[in-house]
Structure formats: structure tokens, C-alpha cells
Symmetry: C2
Subunit: 342 residues, 2 copies
């Protein structure tokens, strides 16, 4: 209890040594090489901060034997995805790393490399954090700090009846990738070639937060969130309790759902994966609601910044589960429709 002093002369560095070796090289300005107990950040003039925190846990949000660089990048990416959905640009991160007893230098070196790659890809600087030992699974908690012009954060709630619903990129890849990552993999894996399987697992490992879409969302979206717990469940969250507590539902055209080539081939080979595509997690795409008169501008500006955006349905009056309409016109049964990491 509270007296687990690191052994002098041990093979593994103590906390300060570990921070100096692996994390200090990643520290941004204001963090003073992580040699202080806090960092400073000077806000940009006229901006609000946008703050979010998400943790990932071994065995819950990732496989313990996933590549450590991918784990680090995912921990950053899931937070950056939240910032992007709110219209914010990343400024910095604080990292809480709980290491299990069997952590190794190799693992940590890979983790730090992935963290560096994530910082380079997403922008923003490492500002601080804490490293603790925990006699349990590894936990990586990230607090991400972004900025938006004052008052411009895009809210999750606020969609109105008649708004069009759009999603970025393709949906369902990561959920299929998760099933391919399992041992044994899903039976339909055999219908896919190696490159399709790799593409889907890559989506599970490597969220691609839609940072470029942030200013477009600020300009046009009435409501937005990132799709992290499955499209169906997250759509339900977005429609729950609008500004005037109106009852909202949605009519989604499944034929319009953007699928990657790999996911389309999986669906053709095994139609039973459709609910996984619609309710599975880890997409880290953007779901947004836009007034009909703004739809064209939204789509055009998304295209201009290089992010595919697809209109998949419409916000309707009503309460309860949204309708996911199949080509036949019959709604897909998706049960509770929500995925929970908790």
C-alpha cells in the first residue's frame, strides 16, 4: 500500500525516468518537457475551449495484444473524433496511463511511437498526464482540449423535424474488423480476401477522426456527434431531448448507407452482418443533422475539404427507435440498437 518504491538500480525506469524517456520528447510548448506538475495553454483570441475525456481499457475497448502503437493512436483518435464532431480543432492532450504489472519497455516504446504518430497526424501537443500502476488491465485515459470560435461549438442536441441526416466516410467497417479480430473470427471472414480483412481490421485499430470537417460542421450543421457506439444507438442519443423536448425519431434509408468495398462484400456474402454494421461501434465517423436548405452547401463544402459525406435519412416526428428502412421498405429489426463499452 502506497509504499511501492521502485527498486534502485532496477531494469525498468521509475515514473520520472519513464516520463523523461518516452513522453517528454512528445511534449508541446507550455509543458516544459513535462518537468512541472502542470502545463500552460494560451487560448487563441476569441475562442472557446472544447473539452472531452475518453478512456480505453484493455479487454474492453481493445485487445490486449493489439499493437501498442495502434492502442496509443486509438486513445488519441477517439478523443479527437469528439472534438471534430463539435467543430473544434485540437490544441492539446493530457494522458492518464495505468499500467498493469506486466508492462514492458518494448510495449511502452511502441505506445510512445504511436502517440507521437497520432500527435503528428491529428495536431495538438502533449501537455501532461499521469502514469500509475494498477493491478488490473491497462487503461489509457485522454483529455483532449480543442478550440472553436466563441459560441460556435456544435451541439449533439438541436436537430429538428425535417432535418436531413448525414454521415461521413463509411459505416460498419470497424465493427466488422472487431469480429475479424476475434479468435476464432466470424464465420463470414472466409468470404473475404486478405486485403478486405486487413482493411476492416485497420478501421478497428485506427480511427480517422474527421478533423477537416470541423469548420464545415460549424458553418452548416444543426447538431452533430461522432459515431462511436454504433450508428443506431448514437442516432438515438442525438434525437433524445431536443431543445424544446419535442419527440424526434428518424427515417434512415439503409440502401443509402455508405459502405466500404470490403464491408459491401462482407454484406453480400453474409447478409446477417447488417445489424452489426448498423449497431456496431468504433466507426469514429461524423453523424450530423442539417436543415434541408443547407444540405447542398454542407455536402459541397465537405467534398471541398476531402471528406465524403452521405445523406442517409431524415429527422421525423415521433419518439422511440428510428426506422432503418431496407430496400424492400421493411424496417430492419435492430433490438435495443445501442452498443455500450461500459
Amino acid at each position: 500500500m502506497a509504499e511501492d518504491r521502485p527498486e534502485a538500480g532496477g531494469l525498468r525506469p521509475d515514473e520520472d525516468g519513464l516520463i523523461a524517456r518516452y513522453f517528454a520528447p512528445l511534449a508541446g510548448p507550455g509543458a516544459d518537457g513535462l518537468r512541472d506538475d502542470a502545463a500552460t495553454l494560451t487560448p487563441s483570441p476569441g475562442c472557446d475551449l472544447v473539452l472531452t475525456a475518453d478512456a480505453i481499457v484493455a479487454g474492453v475497448h481493445y485487445f490486449p495484444d493489439d499493437p501498442p502503437a495502434s492502442i496509443a493512436r486509438k486513445a488519441l483518435g477517439v478523443n479527437v473524433s469528439d472534438l471534430a464532431a463539435k467543430g473544434a480543432s485540437p490544441r492539446g492532450y493530457l494522458l492518464t496511463l495505468a499500467l498493469p504489472d506486466d508492462w514492458s519497455e518494448d510495449w511502452l516504446a511502441g505506445f510512445a511511437a504511436g502517440l507521437g504518430a497520432g500527435l503528428a497526424a491529428f495536431g495538438g501537443a502533449l501537455l501532461g498526464g499521469d502514469t500509475v500502476r494498477a493491478a488490473g488491465p491497462a487503461l489509457i485515459g485522454v483529455t483532449a482540449i480543442g478550440e472553436v470560435p466563441r459560441g460556435a461549438m456544435v451541439r449533439r442536441l438541436g436537430a429538428r423535424i425535417g432535418d436531413r441526416l448525414c454521415v461521413s466516410g463509411t459505416i460498419g467497417d470497424a465493427a466488422l474488423g472487431l469480429h475479424l479480430r476475434k479468435a476464432p473470427p466470424a464465420a463470414w471472414a472466409e468470404a473475404l480476401d486478405a486485403s478486405d480483412r486487413a482493411a476492416l481490421i485497420d478501421r478497428y485499430w485506427h480511427p480517422r477522426p474527421r478533423i477537416a470537417l470541423a469548420p464545415v460542421l460549424r458553418a452548416h450543421a444543426r447538431a452533430a456527434m461522432d459515431v462511436s457506439d454504433g450508428l443506431a444507438g448514437d442516432l438515438a442519443k442525438m434525437l433524445k431531448g431536443g431543445p424544446d423536448e419535442q419527440g424526434l425519431s428518424a427515417d434512415v434509408d439503409l440502401a443509402a448507407l455508405p459502405l466500404s468495398e470490403a464491408a459491401a462484400r462482407a454484406l453480400a456474402a453474409a447478409p446477417e452482418v447488417l445489424p452489426t454494421i448498423v449497431t456496431g461501434g468504433d466507426d469514429y465517423e461524423i453523424l450530423c443533422a442539417v436543415a434541408p436548405e443547407r444540405l447542398d452547401a454542407l455536402l459541397a463544402e465537405a467534398e471541398a475539404v476531402g471528406v465524403p459525406l452521405t445523406c442517409i435519412g431524415t429527422v421525423t416526428a415521433g419518439q422511440g427507435v428510428s426506422v432503418f428502412r431496407q430496400a424492400s421498405g421493411r424496417p430492419l429489426s435492430i433490438g435495443t440498437g445501442s452498443f455500450s463499452h461500459f
Copy 2:
């Protein structure tokens, strides 16, 4: 793996229900009742943000059977203590809560009550966070966001030869409290009456971050940090690598060390507790270095804001372990002198 959907109709709420019940009532403005994936914070004009993150883990930083309200308040307090040492005022917090399998509603209700009490005592609002299940000990990670006038954050490094060293409050109480909390408690516990024992354990449970001292430190301190890992170890950190990489050490007069009445009685009964007082953790007092010509002003202004501040020694030239001088003039041997929670 990643499909632990909460049981519908179960006795315990899912993550959203849990947040709505226990944490949403504590959410500050900008957090929209924790119904969004991020919160906004409008920085005060002319201010920098000060950011810090510290996690506490069951069985490492606290006893699993400590009162849940105390655990929550401690998780906040250890972070606020860092802000105070940097001269910052608390603005907000993000909470990452990893719950073990055996969490209970009673525990969580107590935890939320303590969190609310901490917010009320320390200032700043709950802005968001994440709740995850982890098959290990509970972990409470907090990111605290404070503000200082632009450029005014007080650094850990920067002390100069001849600077006077001061500490706030009393030192060693929490470390003694930890030993009283153990089963069986330390042998010297018998020399203390029940109220002394309770006072020391209270210091272990309830950090009292020195928020009132923040503006005084900004005005007068050359360097400051909070004492969380023991006075000796933290002093060594403060003197490591000054701005011009000069070698720094310190001469500390143990007779000047501020002790509570309870700690003084423990020391009188059991002189062998002195190293525990000097090297034990969890004080959450402020250690600062001040230019000699500023000492009087620092002490007077600390007194004016109601925080006891005591001069305990002087920064000296040299490198290596500081000297903790006993009344006899002989230095106390304190070994490596540093306490690590890692």
C-alpha cells in the same frame, strides 16, 4: 470483448443512466448536463489556462475501504493542489472513472456526494468525463483546468542560490495518518489519543489544497510545487535542473519544520517517525522558493489570506540530496528520500 451490453431492466443503471443520476447534477455551465460528448469553457480575458492530470488508484493511493466521499474529494483535491501551487484558480474538471466489477450504487452515491462537496469547497465545475468498467482496482483520474493571468504560472524550476524555502500548513500529518490507517496500525499509535489519531487520518483522507495562496505565490514565489510525494523528494525535484542548470541543493532546519500538535506528540513519543514526516507523501501543502528580499512580503500576504507559511531553510549551491539538519546540527539520514506512488 466490447459487447458487454448492460442488461435491460437490471438493477444497476447503464453508463448513461449512471451519469444522469449521479454526475449530471454536478455539471457546470458549458457542460449541458453532460448530455454532449464535450463541454465548452470560455477563458477569462487575459488569462492562460493551467492544465494538470492526476489519477488515484485503489490499493495504491487510497484504501479500497476508505469512505467513497473522501476518495472523490481526494481525487479532486490532489489536482487542485497542483493548480494552487502553480498560482492558478480552478475553473473545471473532467473525471475518468474506472469502476471494478463489484461497484455498488451506495458506493457511487457516496462518491458523487464527495465530488459535489469537493466542487463546492474548491471551486470550478464538473465539465465532463468518462465512466468505464475495468476488471481491476477502481481508478479515478481527474484533469483539472485552472487559470492564471497570462504568463503568470509559477514554475517548479527556477529557484536560485540563497532563496528561502517555505512550506504551508504542517508537514507529515498525512504520512502518519496513512500508518494509522494500516492494519495493524503503527506501534506508536498507542501513544496517541483518539482525537490525535483522527486528526492525522483526516489529513490523509482530505487534502486541503491551498487555493488562497495562489495569488500570493504569483506575486512573490520564484518557484513552487505542491508537496505530494514527501517533502524531501519533492524538494529534490524542485532543485533539479534550474534555469541555467546550476547545481542546487538545500539546507533545511528540521527544528523549523511546521508540525501539527498531533504530529508533534507522535514525534515526541516515537522519534523514529521523523523520516516518515520528512519523506512521506500526501501532504498537499505548498513548497516554494522566494528571493530573500521578498520573504517578508510573502509571509505577510500568506498570513493575510489565512494560510500559515513557515520558512524552513535556504537554497544552497551543490548537487545531490538536500541536508535536513537536526537540532544537534547533524543531518538526518533519509535514504533516497523520495516517495513514489508508481
